[in-house]
Symmetry: none
Subunit: 209 residues, 4 copies
């Protein structure tokens, strides 16, 4: 009796979600998260507002979905890079490259999406995603310190600085409107970061006075 088999239904569902992702991204990029109304999405996708509600519980679900779909690949890439047996410095460089490149394409989007913080309860998944990434990168840094390649700096803080500086760079560029390609920025970023992190010649470590 059912018109669509389970499979067909799932396929339909996937198509709809693809469409929504595509158009929601475009709207957010061009006009900001505030412009992402159900009406706008519905019109862009070519369905009625009501139909949208058959696929997403509410507007927040749409936002959550778009975020997830944007960040998950980055997380997976980080996991994959961490799983290789490259040396820690190289891993970090690749991660920086990946994030930067991945983010580059959706530049403004990241910014628009990021500090949703207070807007509704998407914090959980977001934080979880973030803390997963953090934990993985922290592992890499601990490895580096353990192997004597990196200085003995507090890993937790180092991770935050690593991630923070990448995200900060993206935000910086977004605010100033000047976008550099990954190749133009990542080397300098890593030069600075690794330059300071590498346990090169001995140098007394600095602590807060």
């Amino acid at each position: 009796m059912a018109r669509y088999s389970e499979k067909q239904k799932a396929a339909l569902d996937a198509l709809m979600r693809d469409d929504v992702y595509h158009h929601a991204m475009a709207i957010i990029k061009n006009e900001g998260l505030g412009a992402l109304t159900m009406e706008r999405i519905a019109v862009a996708v070519g369905v009625s507002r009501g139909t949208l509600y058959n696929y997403f519980d509410d507007r927040d679900a749409v936002i959550r979905f778009v975020k997830d779909r944007t960040f998950d690949p980055i997380l997976r890439a980080i996991e994959e890079i961490a799983a290789t047996d490259l040396d820690p410095a190289l891993k970090l460089t690749r991660i920086a490259n990946w994030i930067f490149t991945g983010v580059y394409n959706d530049s403004a989007l990241i910014i628009a999406l990021s500090p949703t913080k207070h807007e509704l309860g998407n914090r959980e998944s977001e934080l979880e995603r973030r803390s997963q990434a953090i934990r993985i990168i922290e592992g890499i840094i601990r490895d580096g310190i353990g192997s004597g390649a990196f200085k003995k700096l507090p890993p937790v803080v180092v991770v935050e600085i690593f991630v923070g500086s990448i995200m900060g760079m993206v935000e910086s560029m977004s605010l100033s409107g000047e976008f550099y390609r990954a190749e133009a920025v990542v080397p300098t970023l890593m030069e600075l970061f690794l330059g300071g992190l590498r346990a090169s010649v001995q140098r007394p470590i600095l602590t807060t006075p």
Copy 2:
């Protein structure tokens, strides 16, 4: 003629603006910029909505005011530090410290306020403020490179990374909910940053004053 002298009026005005700043900050921190409605502010301050409009042209003016009041001291501090004759590395350290400390108190606020992007037209003053800071810091870095203290890396990119990593750190902390005091983070940050920036040969490391 007038019952209140100019001074009294100014004082009243200042009081109101202080109040608004105070409560607007609280609202933004706890619930985000989106929760900053005129009604909320009015209730918090203890006046009617109408009264608010006697002090601020519109909601946007309130937001602008809060931003200015938050960022201006930072900008001025940066200017002052840049004007000293400390060596570049120390200047950068102090600036990092200042921003970090200053921002620490209003932590989440910065994030909530920063990427207003797409929302209203307050970008101008915001960008100007930012570019002023950027220009000043860029000057310091050029000095460092000129004096041979820093590596010859593209100053523009270095600044972005410097500023970006600080802002990113703040945002990182804001997202994760764990806030470190400046003393706990800045040394590490500068160790990394300066470690990578310095024209190698060893040199005693600089500490936060």
Copy 3:
């Protein structure tokens, strides 16, 4: 696909617009244009304010709609009368009759709507409508002068007086609250107007003293 066919939708739309026209008219007549708030209309029509916005972009659109719906039939009638091959005097009489009758039903409305001046930008269509009517009537008067039926008075001024006296009459009645039927007023009006306009036998010309 759609539950409602295009036709049904159009019908619904027409119904709503009819309703709005009806009630908006009543409100304007009784309490003036200023009383025509979206709330008032919504309550009168029996829908929510939000629903109104599904049919009209904003309050201005409602006003424009009511005006158009009121004036357009008059304009069309004038065009039709002008297109006949009646003699000019008769054309004018019929036009006066038409305007007067048509307007009679919406009497006060015309006044309430007409000098919206300074209020919103609906002047364009209004003026255009007016100038179309003027142009047509001017043509009739020129014909009359050309054929020797009318005196050689400046057509432009004559039109203004013709139109002005009709509109003025309506306004007069509206202000005084006494409404005469077209049959009671138009003959007198035309007697005066045509009596003065016709190129009769000689008559001493009157000049301003």
Copy 4:
């Protein structure tokens, strides 16, 4: 104890009212009645809003006052003209001239003021003023009919047409934006009006078809 004597107070009062009239006129002319807020007036006059309320009960009182001050001279002039022993046709011509000229100077104003009708309760004085004028003019027309100078047309309707055509002309000009001087319009107007009104040679009367 009183600071001001009655006289002084009255003088002060008159000054204030003069000022208000002056500036209120300017505002109405340039921006319409809607722009006539207490704040605007207060600023223009150079006093506080509160002070305005010492001279006028409310906004409506201001509007009433401005109207009165504008129309009263016209009414008085009509009375004076009616009191002369000129012949009826000449009286009407002079009245038309007077109204037209008087209004010419405040052109748009008349329109802006006229259909206040529904706006608050200034109807009484307005109507009274109007009906006084009507009554006087009606008297002139009756005289004309009585003396055999005018045709036997219903005086009430003739008055309305006379007044209506003048006011209509003014409004016409206001709407179209083209203002003619009294000398350019009144002769034509009176030519038409008196041409039709005079009991001249016999001519078949035209009735509505």
